[in-house]
């Protein structure tokens, strides 16, 4: 196999990794106003914290997948990287802003005990997650469908070229898939009422998404489908149905595996539709960027292949270990009480507290002596 083909596959794998992992934390972010709502302000706050803490230790690592995908595209297909990133200028700007405010939302929302402060960061998380999810879908659908690219590999369209109906449908499908994926993740990682609610949400969003996704893949497949892409399309659809069935039967683990496979297969379908192009030109197929004419030299690809072969398994190993370490379900009883804002210098934060938090007598909802803050 040509090394440029190997790198096409590696980049497909990196995007798959990104969508199956950050997909659910986008979903959790978007579901904050829906699943994170309780009968009073206190329950609402606790439920939101439970949701955010299900992804707390892992969202940051999940996001690195897209940085690696971007870096790998730069290294293996400089023309693809250059054409794609300059063509999607304004949408990418929006995505970057969305990722910035969303990430800071996770980190900063609990750092002050102030309802307004938290409400603002919640909005940043919700909007940031939704905008990124939507625009990644729009962007990748545009890549698969092709863009006006001229003979010098430059994009000749504008923002409105990118906002076409099929690509917007692509965006809606990613939003729907991530909502379902996120709801199933919350169901899998929590206990108590929030778990039941998450299952209910997943069923509803999943059903709507299934319809949208089948429509999208049919449109794209009709345009330039191949046997491989039809196989992955069918597997994706089957996995989504299986996920919803498992969810209805209360098998959350299998349901999550189902959406995991659905998203992976959907990404695979996209890349199968794309190959051997990486950015098809709608002006003239001779001007399309392909794995052959957009790639780096064999020497660079060879080095990168060695690096990827040696280090990707290591990354997978320690990332999986993180999921194992934080495998326990959490519920509102696990959320330490009280806002974690440090008080002013003169307030008694510096008084010694020696009560160990491990004493078995600590009841389920008893506050920890000193809520840790990050």
């Amino acid at each position: 196999m040509e090394l440029s083909t190997v790198w096409f596959i590696i980049i497909a794998v990196l995007w798959t990794g990104y969508f199956v992992l950050e997909g659910f934390d986008f979903g959790v972010g978007m579901l904050l106003p829906v699943l994170g709502r309780g009968k009073d302000a206190e329950t609402t706050e606790k439920r939101r914290r439970v949701m955010i803490n299900t992804i707390g230790p892992v969202w940051d690592g999940n996001e690195v997948w897209v940085l690696t995908a971007g870096g790998a595209t730069f290294a293996a297909f400089p023309h693809w990287y250059a054409t794609m990133f300059s063509a999607f200028y304004l949408p990418l700007l929006l995505i970057l802003v969305a990722l910035i405010v969303r990430n800071l939302g996770f980190d900063y929302r609990g750092k002050r005990d102030d309802a307004q402060w938290r409400a603002r960061w919640d909005a940043a998380i919700i909007v940031g997650s939704a905008v990124s999810a939507l625009l990644w879908g729009v962007a990748l659908t545009n890549v698969v469908r092709g863009l006006p690219i001229d003979a010098s590999k430059e994009f000749t369209g504008n923002l409105f070229t990118l906002l076409n109906p099929v690509s917007l449908l692509g965006g809606l499908v990613t939003v729907g898939l991530f909502l379902t994926h996120g709801a199933l993740f919350v169901a899998l990682k929590t206990t108590g009422p929030i778990r039941a609610d998450a299952r209910g949400i997943a069923t509803r969003t999943g059903a709507v998404t299934a319809v949208l996704a089948v429509g999208l893949l049919a449109i794209l497949g009709a345009a330039d489908g191949n046997p491989g892409s039809w196989v992955t399309t069918v597997v994706a659809a089957g996995a989504l149905v299986a996920a919803l069935t498992a969810n209805l039967r209360g098998r959350e683990g299998w349901a999550f595996v189902g959406t995991f496979v659905t998203i992976a297969m959907a990404v695979a379908t996209y890349f199968l539709l794309l190959f051997p192009d990486v950015m098809p030109s709608t002006l003239d197929t001779a001007w399309s960027l392909t794995t052959a004419n957009a790639s780096s030299t064999p020497y660079t690809l060879e080095i990168m292949t060695w690096v990827a072969v040696v280090f990707t398994p290591i990354v997978l190993l320690y990332q999986s270990w993180t999921y194992w370490v934080f495998r326990k379900r959490i519920g509102t009883q696990h959320i330490p009480a009280a806002g974690p804002t440090p008080t002013t210098p003169d307030a008694p934060t510096t008084t010694p507290t020696t009560t160990p938090s491990t004493t078995p007598s600590t009841g389920p909802s008893a506050p920890s002596p000193e809520p840790s803050v990050r």
Binding site: L67, H79, M84, T350, V373
Partner: protein, 477 residues
């Protein structure tokens, strides 16, 4: 302003802003890891408190460093697509390896460190922060390899057919002589920042009258920070000196610009400590100079000859000015006042930080506490000085490279994205500048809030094994 100017301003703004957080991340992660493993080894309660305290300050800072770093990676493709096409074969590899080797390590293990209290064995937990630190160093290594290629292109050839630079020797790129001295210089600068932050924060607490029983803890932290600052300062001086000689060798124009040396000097070139003159160097109004020192800094000999801007400019125009469209430029000269002043400020503020560290060591000896009111200004300046020093260093390095993107190979004006409109670049510039401004205010406020609160009271860590199923999490967002 046209696209080129806008894209250059945007790169300057986003990079300098990003690099306010990077040295804090590198420097502070080492000190947090040090305190955490010191607690595991010696069971001194203060060490755990300090690890948690500086750990919080670290994460507040890390969050912003991380998100502004994402912008950096995308910016090459967005604003500099012709550059990306030209050099992607070489430049992309270290960037991708940085993500694969360093970013995953940092993000994953920082998550484990933050949330891992009571979940993983304590030695492993302490090791997590060391792994984060190793990640920051790896990240610095690979991104500096990419940058050093722009300063001194090695291990490549120009393909006349495709008009692109192609990688021929990756090891040469990773062991570029500019890289080998830049990496220790940048890391030393980061430790200087880390040391200064710890020193200033601890000293602020030490001076507070109500601290009382925590005096010993803050005193030790103050002095450790001061020692780290001094050692790092020494490292900076040594590496900076070597760097000056390599720079004179590979980028003589940068050294000439740093000195605003217009006419070549045959030996005994004086080092300008301060010169006030017209901006084109034609007239000198006032100058303080040390004879022979520039010759020594640039060549290692007091009688070494140093080329001036005018001679170099003529040389470059002849060498690069014809034939190759990628290397034609009207100036061949960087912005001289910017180079001159950023060079001086970089060195000046670094030295100031070291002087403060010495002063702190002297005034905190025994059981002394510096009480004079003017100390509060020193404390305010201490972490800011080296952070600014890092910025000035980068401004000097990057501005001094102009008008080249890749020295001698590709001029900056040929690297911008042709398909991106000025309106788009203006939009992104306004968005980034406003967003970064707001975030700066938020982060500084948050940082100060947590700084004022001081080290949290000691709490025996939960043991991983005997956790109650319904006990609250040791850490939660």
């Amino acid at each position: 302003m046209d696209n080129l100017d806008l894209a250059r301003w945007q790169f300057a703004i986003t990079t300098v802003y990003h690099f306010l957080f990077v040295p804090v991340t590198i420097g502070l992660s080492a000190l947090v890891a040090w305190y955490h493993s010191s607690w595991v080894r010696r069971r001194r309660q203060d060490d755990l408190r300090l690890a948690k305290f500086f750990g919080k300050l670290f994460t507040i800072n890390f969050a912003l460093g991380l998100v502004t770093g994402i912008v950096q990676e995308f910016q090459f493709g967005m604003n500099w697509s012709d550059y990306s096409r030209f050099v992607g074969d070489i430049f992309g590899a270290p960037l991708a390896i940085e993500a694969l080797l360093a970013f995953f390590l940092e993000s994953t293990f920082l998550g484990l460190w933050i949330f891992g209290w009571g979940r993983i064995p304590e030695k492993l937990h302490a090791a997590c922060m060391w792994i984060v630190h190793v990640g920051t160093l790896l990240s610095a290594y690979f991104i500096l390899s990419a940058n050093s290629f722009m300063q001194n292109p090695v291990g490549y050839r120009l393909n006349p057919e495709t008009q692109r630079a192609e990688l021929t020797d990756f090891v040469a790129v990773l062991t570029n002589k500019v890289q080998l001295v830049t990496f220790p210089h940048v890391v030393a600068a980061a430790y200087l920042v880390g040391g200064a932050v710890v020193m200033a924060v601890a000293l602020w607490h030490l001076r507070r009258v109500d601290v009382g029983r925590d005096e010993g803890m803050y005193r030790r932290a103050t002095r450790l920070g001061a020692v780290v600052t001094l050692v790092a300062g020494l490292g900076l001086a040594v590496t900076g000196d070597i760097q000056g000689k390599i720079m004179t060798d590979v980028q003589p124009m940068k050294m000439a610009a740093a000195e605003a040396l217009y006419e070549s000097s045959d030996g005994n070139a004086p080092l300008s400590l301060l010169t006030v003159g017209s901006l084109d160097g034609s007239e000198e109004k006032f100058a303080v100079t040390v004879p022979g020192l520039l010759s020594f800094l640039a060549t290692g000999h007091f009688d070494g000859s140093v080329q001036g801007i005018n001679e170099l400019k003529a040389e470059y125009a002849q060498k690069y000015g014809t034939g190759n469209p990628l290397t034609v430029d009207a100036t061949y000269t960087p912005n001289i006042p910017l180079s001159y002043w950023s060079f001086r400020l970089m060195i000046g503020v670094g030295m100031a930080a070291c002087l403060i560290a010495l002063m702190v060591l002297w005034t905190t000896r025994g059981d002394r506490i510096p009480r004079a009111r003017w100390w509060q200004w020193v404390i305010l300046a201490t972490p800011l000085l080296p952070i600014l020093g890092n910025s000035f260093g980068w401004i000097f390095t990057e501005a001094g490279r102009q008008p080249w993107l890749v020295f001698g190979v590709m001029s900056t004006s040929t690297g911008v994205s042709p398909s991106v409109s000025a309106g788009e670049v203006v939009t992104s510039m306004v968005v980034y500048t406003l967003l970064y401004g707001v975030l700066a205010v938020i982060e500084v406020k948050l940082f100060l809030t947590y700084l004022r609160a001081g080290a949290p009271p000691f709490e025996e860590p939960v043991v991983a094994a005997d956790q109650d199923d319904d006990a609250p999490l040791a850490f939660a967002y």
